[in-house]
Symmetry: C2
Subunit: 302 residues, 2 copies
DNA sequence: CTTTCATTTCAAAAAAATTGAATGTTAAAT
DNA sequence: ATTTAACATTCAATTTTTTTGAAATGAAAG
């Protein structure tokens, strides 16, 4: 009475329904008709219900059989998916891949690559999350992601591998109405201290705080992300360096102007990073394709 | 390699995970440890994956085992539900019960009864739908429902059973500002023809149209349901008979006033109706409880 | 009336699952 | 250091379940 329903049972029922007869189903399943008679009768006995209306011209599901199969079909499908998952896992495809994306980079290339991956219809779940500037390492170290895109600086001690995706240069760009824009000479450290600067807060929780773009100015305005920083500088709220590739349009339409600044901002090389221990095919695939994507950065051919 | 995953396999995995050891799981399942070794090894061979990390102090799921069980657990649960469905079906509970509810009746008693039924936690899906006045028979005949509440009139030829739930009386009620309200004498057929009347459209598609409340007036306004008709008559848009039990509050607060009318409106006896062929326990239960519910109608004790 | 498909029954055979005893290993307890 | 208790595994024997093939049967079609 208990546990009488098995997957094989459901497959047999489905085959009989599809072919319309025990004989046809037997052929489908490479079995002999009497085997199906046995299987079905046993199940019918166990359930105490007639599952098929047998005639000499075939067999049709009864209401009970329909009920059973209607609910059973999705179960069979789930099992089939599960089997595919296991096969994929066995072949080296991890069940889930989490990508952390630094907001300093555009999401477009990432989405494009993710889209390409989804087209392969693998049973690999892809999750991605944006992290604040510099948050990639943190996300990787605390195992909140498997791949971090757009990390920079020193590689934290531990088992990580990286691949360069390009260089990031900065321009000192400010609103044309800002007093420092009208100075007529290179901006000095002294000048800077006279005005507020805009700082992107770092969400990093494990790594020590990295001060990105702080020049010890009189006041600082903390904003949650780079887009806010750009917006704030366009409004003349403050000044600071901004990534060249993100402000091309602002420079073109005059919302921002470039100025020379005595305090230099070093170019940054950005990487994709992941744990050496992770060897899934999905990770490999993503590293390869994300590395080849056009992130709009300066690249040294090599 | 194919179809290596069975429900029994999943149950074994789950038992081992729960108890933390093959030995414990064997006890849970009333088997001998070597049986589980056999089962698990076979599955591991088939999948080509190690499912458990065996130590001398027990067994822990590997990543592959976790993946398998994580996806397998919901499958086991679905199968358990399916088995319960079949048991309930075998015991006479139909898998789905559709109730048509005539808008002339309040939904409150119905919802109360449905709530009571749901408390029993049976694997019976309950669907209910409101139908226009007189639409119950139609819904029943065309098999869009199993039980119709609030049908009236002749029982259509065919295999139906009914149970009375009470009588419905009508009052000729109109807005106090309506000219007919100021007449000072019983309203005649002639009077009626001078003013628009409000008619609820009948959604019935199979039965011949029953004109409910049409007095051949100059104009008629068709509204989709009784609530609209009451609202329309409160606004003085038209006149007509309304079910006594639905306008008690309107009469009390003066939105409507009762007037005598020469054209009488016969009381209606309302029934619950269902097909004789349907013998499910759910139907029986609902007929019994819906029949005993208080629909706010007049009842002749018997 | 015969042929053709069907399903079922039944006994035999094959396959799969289960058992129990033996083996070996480890961690905790003495 | 030795013993004890828990545990997983292996293997051959056993039991259970599934599958088979042949024969029986019935109904519709030619």
């Amino acid at each position: 009475m208990h546990n009488s329903i098995t997957l094989e049972n459901l497959r047999v029922l489905e085959a009989i329904r599809q072919s319309g007869s025990f004989a046809g189903a037997a052929q489908m399943l490479h079995k002999v008709p009497s085997a199906l008679t046995y299987t079905v009768s046993k199940l019918e006995d166990d359930l105490g219900l007639l599952l098929f209306e047998r005639s000499k011209k075939g067999a049709r599901l009864t209401a009970a059989g329909t009920l059973l199969l209607e609910q059973g079909r999705p179960i069979l499908e789930a099992v089939a998916r599960l089997e595919e998952s296991m096969r994929a896992f066995e072949a080296g495809w991890e069940p889930c891949l989490r990508i952390a994306h630094d907001v300093i980079l555009s999401t477009k290339p990432l989405l494009q690559v993710v889209g390409e991956f989804l087209d392969k219809e693998l049973p690999v779940e892809v999750a991605y999350d944006s992290v604040a500037v510099g948050g990639g390492w943190d996300s990787l170290i605390s195992e909140r992601c498997d791949i971090a895109i757009g990390v920079s600086g020193d590689i934290p001690k531990g088992e990580f591998e990286v691949q360069e995706i390009g260089g990031l240069s900065f321009l000192f760009a400010i609103a044309p109405t800002h007093p420092l824009a009208l100075l007529g000479r290179p901006i000095s450290a002294q000048d800077l201290r006279e005005y507020p600067s805009i700082v992107v807060s770092d969400s990093s929780r494990i790594l020590p705080k990295v001060s990105t773009g702080i020049f010890e100015s009189k006041q600082t305005v903390k904003v949650p992300d780079l887009a806010s920083k750009i917006a704030a500088q366009c409004m003349g709220l403050g000044v600071g360096y901004l990534p060249t590739h993100l402000i091309q349009d602002k420079l073109k339409d005059g919302s921002l102007v470039e100025r020379e600044c005595e305090i230099p901002r070093a170019d940054l090389t950005l990487y994709i990073a992941w744990r050496k221990t992770k060897k899934g095919k999905g990770l490999r695939w993503f590293v390869e394709h994300l590395g080849a994507a056009d992130w709009g950065l300066s690249r040294n051919e090599g």
